[in-house]
Amino acid sequence: MKGAALLVVALAAVVLSGNGYLMNLVVVTALFALPALGLSLLMGYTGQISLGHAAFVGLGAYGTAILVRATGLSPWLTMAAAIALTTLCAWAIGWLVFRLRGHHLAMATLAFGIIVHVATVEWRSITGGQDGLSAIPSLEVLGYRLGSDAAILPLVWLACIVAMLLAQNLVRSPAGYAMRAVAENEAVAASLGIAPERIKRRIMALSGLYAGLGGALYAHYLGYISPSPFDVGFSIKLLLMVALGGFAGIWSVLFGVFFVVMTGEALKPLGQYDVILYGALLVIVMIWCPRGLLNGLELLWRAIAVHARAARTPG
């Protein structure tokens, strides 16, 4: 809770500063943090890899956009429907893919992600193909349109902080221990009366819910969506964010998201070459700091401190 309070203070400072560029980055961070948190619950705590998480974000975004354009209902309603649909879809995918593990699970989820991306490109009558869908209405609260960065910032961060607190609660609960038991050893978990399959499917559904929420908010925030932000590259970016956060860790994953968003901004002048750094970062983090970038830096700092102390002590 203390962390959340500090976060709110920092966010308030950003809003008060009135810096539009900074506010935009902060909103984007929250929108990426939601799917990244979902992926962390699945990969970090339950030990199941997913290389298709961008698809769930895309399903949430396209779901609400298509519904709101077709029915003209309130965006809140279509958002809820799209998120429910994404959750259900994630559960069903979980039912299908969790009979596999390891490399095969990774490839199956990668294939799922590509299939959804290809569908958003090819199914032009519904998704608008490469042109995407535009004129998606903004969300409204009490007649007040949440169109600008400053207006949507409190909402996306409220969603993000609630999601973080809920996730934190979950991983500290008995269910959280069951998740980690499944990640360690399924046979042992099953012998303790935990049903690994059920846990995995439920976490997949929850993970899909987080991703769908992020996608739906994204669609109403931008007012325009196209297939390219939901491609395999985005799934890999989510993977990088979670890896930088050490996979398991609600706050450290938020740091990972923030780090990737900031690096992305810093590398903008490089254009498409930024992927070299993302790839290299992924390799470096996995080799030297498997528990996250912060943890790795902390260990490095300690090693340097010990070294320095040894150098100071005579003899």
Partner: protein, 289 residues
Amino acid sequence: MTELAQYLASGLVVGAIYGLIGIGFTAVYNVTGIVNFSQGDFASLGALAAIGFLAFGMPLAAAIAAAVLLIGLLGVLIERVAIRPVGNDVLRGIVITIGVGVALQGIAVLIWGTDAYALRAFSGERPIDLGGVTVPPQALWVLGTAAALMALLYIFFMRTYLGKAFRACALNAYAASLMGIPTRTMRAVGFFISAFSGAIAGVIVAPIAFMQYDSGIFLGIKGFVACIIGGFGNPIGAALGGLLLGLLEALATGYLSSGYKNAIAFVVLLAFLFVRPSGILGELEDVRR
């Protein structure tokens, strides 16, 4: 009837490519236990490197040889720098090879941009008529090279000292190390074979199919599907699986619609993963619960 033969011919050509990439997967998987998610990038990089050397004014054969060797050494370098430090952790291995693939694609963008290139055909463009079936001469090059490479690899694995040591290491690395086989060297050999055959696959198909920085993703997935069909870890299975996938794709493209071409690979992948994850030949424990 000629229509069917035409589809079968083009299916075999594409299938040979998938088979070679699939063999690359097995060469790494058998000694390291890692599925190299950047496998397809060896093919696209090999083709692009050959195109690059050619543009420098090297003769075609020299350009190809240089490109293929370069990519083979790149594979060894990747094993040394990125794969060896993590050991046998499956999840970390997957994430690292994905990172390697992304970095390789980034480097390809840096050098060649995002344009698609084709390599010059090895012996002209004039189609050859084989009893009603017309094929480009390059198709024969693809089939011939793939068959020759597979035969060479077979002889290498079954007849040579190094190949036998490699197979021993794949069966049981610990026991092999007790017999004095340097398992680390074998891992490097696995990566060399994998990158080398991947690059050859890319080079021989480049005159027929355009190559760009991210062509490797689809090639890699299809090579993986070839392995799944044949049974993961079985090189002969991978070759057969590749041919089968190529034929299925060609038939689906011919009789259904070209839009289904890429979908076929995924449908086959999912069907095999769920119904018969051990493939048509292989025995693979630990895939299923």
